[in-house]
Symmetry: none
Subunit: 420 residues, 2 copies
């Protein structure tokens, strides 16, 4: 079982856009046992795509093409597909109705050119695009599958996760001899090498399976890959490896697979019927935005104040003037008073606060760029912790947001606040 990805677009070739679609597809196809063995990025030239299609039907079980499905003149995927397969484009009435509905819902007159979105190869199956106007195309050719999808990441992803992975598993179910499974443990609060050291001899943990360390600004993901003769054995192997990892570094594992920290903490708050409020300075609303990105957060999130000037800290949050005068806006005392102030203002069970130097300017020897105080407050206790999150503004903000949520998670689960 081998697959290939064809990404179409000059914007990828000249580096205007990084090819995140290919990485996403690579991961998803690998997870169902159809590893990508080749990715090509090409421009929108007919002859090039024709020869790639030829290579695909000769050499790969699955080919996924992204991009070139739009309604304008430089969108070549569908015309080239019908040329290669000696097929023709016909209007799919369901797609046409969907496209027209999207425009009428937005109260926009549909430009004539958009009717082209509903043209699909006669010998293909349409993959519904619930988030956009360009449908996906699924073609079977002598036991090989060719799939064309829009290049817009969220449209493509919802089609992959909504239907395509399932269809592929079904189509190839007799060809899969082994079961490949993977599970990712999400850690935060310690670096890659510290985590490595804590786990000790990796071979003892994973035996003949695979373990990848995937570090990012927010933590290290540990991806376990196992191969087994059946589902049950695969699950057993994964469970054993997970057990061994958690035994050594369990307190740093906040979730698994695609879970998000804000989802994990949100679920605990909802279960316990507790509420949260925020007072953000250096994170500037990002912490609030992350929490609000989870549907249903209004069950536990009451709101936040982003106090980007000292005046707001004093006026709205009730931070004392002498605190800022004596200790500065970036200080333990300010973080404490912000957390207490917002918890009182919004009448919540818990609150978090952030104040720091996100840079690039504004740092001093005593308070360098990257210094962040994170405060936590509940009816029982209020505390603040000091961190240094490096030099890059965006990374400082991301790490501060993640750490604030991890502090909340540990308080909720009574885990010690230790970070490495």
């Amino acid at each position: 079982m081998r697959s290939k990805i064809i990404s179409i677009g000059d914007e990828l070739l000249i580096g205007q856009i990084v090819n995140t679609n290919a990485a996403y597809l690579g991961e998803k196809l690998f997870s169902i046992g159809i590893p990508v063995e080749r990715t090509v990025v090409i421009s929108d030239e007919e002859s090039v795509l024709l020869s790639e299609l030829d290579d695909s039907v000769n050499n790969y079980d699955v080919t996924i093409i992204t991009g070139g499905l739009g309604p304008t003149h430089d969108d070549i995927t569908k015309p080239v597909i019908v040329k290669y397969f000696k097929d023709e484009l016909i209007t799919d009435e369901t797609v046409l109705a969907h496209v027209m509905k999207i425009f009428s819902d937005r109260k926009i007159k549909m430009p004539e050119v958009n009717k082209g979105q509903a043209l699909v190869p006669k010998n293909s199956e349409v993959i519904h695009n619930e988030s956009g106007t360009a449908p996906g195309i699924w073609i079977e050719n002598n036991g090989k599958i060719i799939i064309a999808l829009p290049g817009v990441p969220y449209e493509m992803k919802s089609m992959i996760e909504g239907i395509i992975l399932l269809k592929l598993k079904l189509f190839f179910k007799n060809k899969f001899k082994n079961v490949i499974k993977q599970k990712t443990l999400l850690t935060t609060g310690l670096g890659e090498s510290t985590l490595n050291e804590r786990l000790g001899d990796i071979k003892e943990i994973i035996e003949e399976s695979k373990l990848a360390f995937l570090p990012s600004a927010e933590g290290v993901r540990l991806r376990i890959n196992v191969t087994a003769e059946n589902e049950e054995d695969a699950d057993k192997k994964i469970n054993l490896i997970e057990f061994r990892i958690r035994k050594k570094a369990g307190e740093f594992v906040f979730g698994t697979n695609g879970e998000r920290m804000e989802e994990v903490t949100g679920n605990i708050l909802r279960e316990r019927k507790k509420t949260l409020s925020l007072a953000e300075s250096c994170t500037g609303g990002e912490l609030s935005a992350r929490i609000v990105s989870i549907a249903g957060c209004s069950d536990y999130y009451m709101g936040g104040v982003c106090s980007y000037s000292n005046r707001e800290k004093l006026k709205i949050l009730g931070v004392k003037a002498e605190t800022i005068e004596n200790y500065g806006a970036v200080s333990e005392k300010t973080a404490l008073e912000m957390a207490e102030g917002v918890r009182e203002l919004m009448g919540t069970d818990f609150s978090l606060s952030t104040t720091g130097v996100a840079g690039p300017s504004g740092g001093s020897e005593e308070k360098p760029v990257g210094l962040v105080w994170i405060g936590f407050s509940s009816a029982e206790k209020t505390f603040a912790m000091k961190f240094n999150f490096g030099e890059r503004r965006d990374i400082i903000i991301r790490r501060a947001v993640m750490r604030a949520l991890e502090i909340l998670r540990r308080e909720l689960l009574s885990i010690e606040q230790n970070y490495y």
Copy 2:
């Protein structure tokens, strides 16, 4: 002049790493007039790399290979290169000394395997790697250039910027007949097809140049590509095309190239010494986070309130109880009172507010998911506008944030508030 990139590595194919190297190389090669026309990502298999080398020497002026240069068994680039070119590997004493120095500087005993780093093809030129142990390889073959570089981004980049771009320019100086230039116009507030329609006959605007429509949830980028005999002519062509586009859709162009909307609006606020505050409901802090992502925003951004429950709207922002009772939290009147309330609370010149149904639940026939009211307030006027931003929570939030900033931009520049 055409170039090709070969990226080697399973970690790219299975999506463990996003191929940022290819995007970087694409941009750099494009900037010196050797656009990348093909990027391939392959695993470390000899036969595959051999056939890619064959394609390269036949079809491309420049090929850059990244990855597979390390000292372990799965690093195939150098062995395959000498096999293909019927060459042999010899030890380069300068490289060997450099590698040994790196280890002795770090006070680590050099593993024997690392001596292999100093092996280079006899008929090649070594590109010094000041940041790491794997040297780069430069091969000339019948007027074509093949370059092999390490896959570690910062090592690769310092070799590209330090020497390779210069060497390429020098090597091909007689072949460069034309200058290639590009400029991207960033638009928002109208869809791809509506923009297309508004521009009318594209050929009339661009003549023999190229124009790409690059849509995203936030707007459509228009990328202009021109080729000319010299810099001056290229600039003239770009200016003419930009002039023609702006004549037809100028009010939708908020910036160019890599500019960000929050930067554009921030710069105007700073220049005019005006201040901004925010009252966010459905965007949940994302608008604030976007503004704070720009360094120096404290010059104009005072802060925001994220009122995620009605209680906060009433208490902190001073939205009237009867407004929420009679019109609901998602209403024109609430958006107006939020904007006015926060402007007063924070004493700013301008304010923006958002209230909407971000979904996935909470929608009704009258107020469906995607409905967003955006409010604006200044000393002169307060208004709110109604939008429908589709069905996906994350997209609704992104589009609402972008539209709020665009409303601010238009007010600052006295452009009519028309969206399509």
